[in-house]
């Protein structure tokens, strides 16, 4: 990119002026973002280190393959691409708001800030759905003690280990206590009549085992615990940035509406807010890369 032309004879270090030809606030926003980049970088590199240090890591395409309204259809990358495009779109509306601000176009800033806020809220909604889906998901897994259990994805455990060979399932079922057999059997009846759970609760272990085996269930081993910790930790930290970005954007939207920036004679606050918002998008590029793509 071309750097700005500097007028001849400019004395940068005589005091009273910025050596970077930028206001104090903007320079400090950049340095804050740089430090934040190191924070996110440290998290992601720590994730990479742990991932490199174990023999098995969950395949993201199996973990993140759901889309709201499509039930159990296998749709790897679909939902997260929607989230990515929402964030790219809200980044564009933000830069358009900054552009309108450069031209002192208050109506333009209002319009584009509104769409940016909407994009941010849509992204947060998507993330809330994804977290809920992972935290409430029911997957049959074999525990360390050799029995089967139903596991969601949490920070302390997850069912994303390797597949359990079909021959091993029968033996694991023998070790599985009654209450777990009942809950496994009742997951097989999702979507059936609500009375199904009461029926399986009354069944004997032998019957339950037969029923589960007949259903040809898919059983996995437990995955590395760090997977959930890193996933919820890093996407949570990013989501918190998005949330604070939305709050800041809402404040700036109202200040624009109240005409504060017209009185001030410039829209630099929109620029600084824009820097923060683009940074959130920038971090998502790498979260998307590290957790979903590779």
């Amino acid at each position: 990119m071309a750097t700005a032309a500097i007028p001849a004879g400019t004395k940068w270090w005589n005091g009273g002026r910025s050596p970077f030809n930028a206001s104090y606030g903007k320079v400090m926003m950049w340095y804050f973002l740089m430090s934040d980049a190191f924070t996110f970088g440290a998290f992601l590199i720590s994730y990479g280190t742990i991932r490199f240090s174990v023999n098995y890591w969950p395949d993201p395409n199996r973990v993140f393959n759901a889309f709201p309204g499509f039930g159990h259809m296998d749709l790897p990358l679909a939902f997260v691409s929607l989230m990515t495009f929402i964030l790219i779109a809200s980044s564009v509306t933000m830069v358009l708001a900054v552009h309108a601000g450069h031209h002192m176009n208050r109506k333009g800033v209002e319009k584009y800030m509104f769409w940016t806020i909407l994009g941010g809220i849509a992204f947060l909604g998507c993330q809330a759905w994804e977290w809920t889906h992972l935290l409430t998901g029911e997957h049959i897994s074999i525990l360390d003690n050799g029995s089967l259990s139903i596991l969601p994805t949490t920070v302390t455990g997850n069912p994303w280990g390797a597949d359990l060979p079909h021959e091993a399932i029968a033996a694991a079922l023998q070790k599985t206590p009654h209450d777990q057999l009942v809950s496994i059997a009742s997951t097989l009846h999702h979507g059936a009549e609500t009375g199904a759970h009461h029926d399986v609760a009354k069944m004997a272990d032998g019957e339950l085992v037969k029923m589960i085996q007949a259903a040809n269930v898919h059983v996995t081993q437990t995955g590395p615990r760090a997977f959930g910790g890193y996933f919820f930790g890093i996407t949570g930290f990013h989501g918190f940035h998005v949330l604070s970005g939305v709050v800041i954007n809402i404040i700036m939207y109202y200040k624009t509406k109240l005409g504060h920036f017209d009185q001030r004679g410039h829209y630099e606050m929109i620029e600084k807010t824009g820097l923060y918002w683009h940074f959130v998008d920038l971090v998502w590029v790498f979260v998307f890369l590290c957790f979903y793509l590779i």
Partner: protein, 142 residues
Amino acid sequence: MSEHVITSPEVSFATAPSSGTGRIWRVFWLLSAITVVELVLGFGLARHWYGSSGMILFVKGVICILSLAKAYYIVSVFMHLGDEIRNMIMTIVVPLCLFIWFIAAFLWDGDSWKNLRNTNGGSKKADTEQVAPAVKEQGAKD
């Protein structure tokens, strides 16, 4: 026109803001196109298109480079860092170069832990490059 706004007293000169939004939209389409390419490559990883682990690693490397390209365009155009003066750009970009060693050193460390664990601190040969380690154990137990 109120162009060339000096936003604060320490700013020496203001450059005229770009008049059109053409560049913004060009970058938007570019970012979208790169994302689509990434998604297609990622979908290939999900569907086991690439076969050998060397090829998979290569595709993952390509995806990483595409993400860096996206980062460049976001920072340079959307965040207008490319329009700042050179000293400003350098104070941001040069410290970020620490990431090069940061990433290399830690991933290397992670790999080293894995090798030490698999070889019991170097005292035995690693069984195999395990893909699904516990499956075999489980089979043996039953």
